[in-house]
């Protein structure tokens, strides 16, 4: 999940529109313009007392080590195992996941949408990068990129295909554009071949991408399709 602080790839996340991940420089290059700008800004803010170093560390630590997709996977596996919990989750997700301790920034208001035999859900934020941090952590680069934000609403089947996900023609694809502070999480279909599996076994099948809706959950033991 994390990279060491010494690793330098200043242009690894390139522009919103091209999404190229190539970098042909060696890592002894002088610091990039952006590195210097961020460094200068951080030094200024610390020196003037507008931010405190321990607060910066606490913020980073929270998202590198505490909040992440394992939270969402816990919720999904529990919903697969516990019908009353699932019903409560679909009715009032915010309160239901708060009972499990999942509260906080970018998870103040939550809606869970369920994939079924007839419905496939997909989440996007066309205007920025809204994402259920409390359950999934910080969004991946592709989620924030122009191609995904532009095309998820207009050609969801093509986008899903790029993730290797084929949604049959008869299924209604529902794309949720996160324009308000309501955050959306997909409840994937429980995979076949998981009868009698424990919650923790099920949890291992729940990927981050399946909770955004670009993929299905991992197959169970006897999956034959």
């Amino acid at each position: 999940m994390t990279v060491s602080p010494s690793r330098k790839q200043p242009d690894a996340e390139s522009s919103l529109s091209t999404m190229s991940h190539e970098h042909d420089h060696d890592h002894t290059d002088p610091p990039s313009d952006i590195e210097l700008r961020v460094k200068a800004l951080e030094s200024l803010l610390l020196e003037k007392g507008l931010v405190k170093q321990d607060a910066l560390n606490a913020i980073i630590e929270t998202y590198e080590h505490q909040v992440g997709p394992k939270n969402g996977a816990h919720v999904v596996a529990k919903a697969w195992s516990d019908l009353p919990f699932k019903q409560a989750l679909l009715e009032n997700a915010t309160a239901t996941v708060a009972d499990l301790g999942y509260v906080g920034r970018q998870g103040e208001h939550l809606t869970v949408v369920e994939n079924t035999l007839d419905i496939h859900n997909l989440v996007v934020c066309t205007l920025c990068s809204c994402y259920p941090w409390t359950l999934l952590g910080l969004p991946p680069v592709w989620y924030k990129s122009a191609p995904y934000r532009a095309r998820a609403v207009s050609e969801p089947r093509a986008v899903l295909y790029e993730f290797g996900t084929v949604v049959p023609e008869h299924k209604d694809i529902r794309v949720w554009d996160s324009t308000s502070e309501m955050r959306y999480l997909v409840l994937p279909e429980r995979p076949a071949g998981t009868k009698g599996w424990s919650e923790s076994q099920l949890q291992a099948l729940v990927t981050r991408n399946s909770m955004i809706g670009v993929e299905l959950a991992r197959p169970g033991a006897e999956e034959v399709k």
């Binding site: 999940m1 994390t2 990279v3 010494s6 790839q9 200043p10 690894a12 996340e13 522009s15 919103l16 999404m19 991940h21 990039s32 590195e35 961020v38 460094k39 800004l41 803010l45 003037k48 507008l50 931010v51 405190k52 607060a55 910066l56 606490a58 913020i59 929270t62 998202y63 509260v103 906080g104 103040e108 208001h109 066309t126 205007l127 920025c128 991946p140 592709w142 990129s145 122009a146 191609p147 995904y148 934000r149 532009a150 095309r151 207009s154 050609e155 969801p156 790029e162 023609e169 299924k171 694809i173 529902r174 794309v175 949720w176 554009d177 324009t179 308000s180 502070e181 309501m182 991408n209």
Partner: protein, 212 residues
């Protein structure tokens, strides 16, 4: 405003090219980690709202917005807000003028979040099942109604209550408006070949009008 950020339905950006989930680091460079923390920490000073913060990133030349990486836009937005709100000069004049969070405060603030639901003081104009049109707007300020639904007809599927209205919140006025979720058929937005697909969009009451 419909700047470079208003991307829904735009063409020409190519394929998504996602990094595999298991291989993607949370940050791709140390400066990304630093700017992420700086944006959150300065936001905790309470000198701007999330919508002012979004608007600061959006009001760039669209070519710049699209050329920049995601966290570069965060940096641009933060530099702009610090300058406009004059934070450095203000703290130089009065070292006590802001309550600057330490680690414990920061953790508390992250855990508390910032709910936007306000008490309902007015009746909603619309209800589930209503067929409505999204008004066409060409306004200069921040808004959360994407261009691609403007002028389109949709159906109300949910009323989320009264939430802070972003268009005003971006100018420092904290007021509420009823928030709805509307379903738009793919064929309504993208043409008759876009069958068995729909888009659900959260829209505040001022964005919506009855179909005449």
């Amino acid at each position: 405003m419909n700047g470079g950020h208003d991307l829904g339905g735009r063409q020409g950006f190519g394929t998504v090219n996602a990094e595999p989930e298991s291989e993607e680091p949370l940050f791709h460079a140390e400066w990304e980690r630093r700017i992420f923390a700086l944006v959150l920490a300065t936001g905790m000073l309470g000198q701007w709202s999330i919508d002012e913060s979004r608007h600061a990133r959006e009001r760039q030349n669209p070519a710049d917005y699209l050329r920049h990486s995601y966290y570069e836009n965060w940096l641009v937005g933060l530099e702009k807000l610090l300058e406009e709100k004059d934070l450095v000069a203000r703290i130089e004049q009065d070292a006590q003028c802001f309550r600057v969070p330490d680690a414990a405060d920061a953790r508390k603030i992250l855990r508390k979040g910032d709910p936007t639901l306000l008490p309902d003081s007015t009746q909603p104009r619309f209800r589930s099942g209503d067929r409505l049109r999204v008004a066409k707007r060409q306004q200069a300020g921040h808004t959360r109604v994407p261009t691609y639904v403007q002028g389109a007809n949709g159906t109300v599927v949910n009323h989320y209550g009264t939430h802070i209205y972003p268009d005003q919140n971006a100018t420092g006025q904290r007021a509420g408006a009823h928030l709805y979720c509307l379903r738009f058929e793919g064929s309504e937005l993208w043409g008759s070949e876009s069958f068995s697909q729909s888009v659900y969009v959260d829209l505040w009451e001022p964005y919506l009008e009855e179909i005449r």
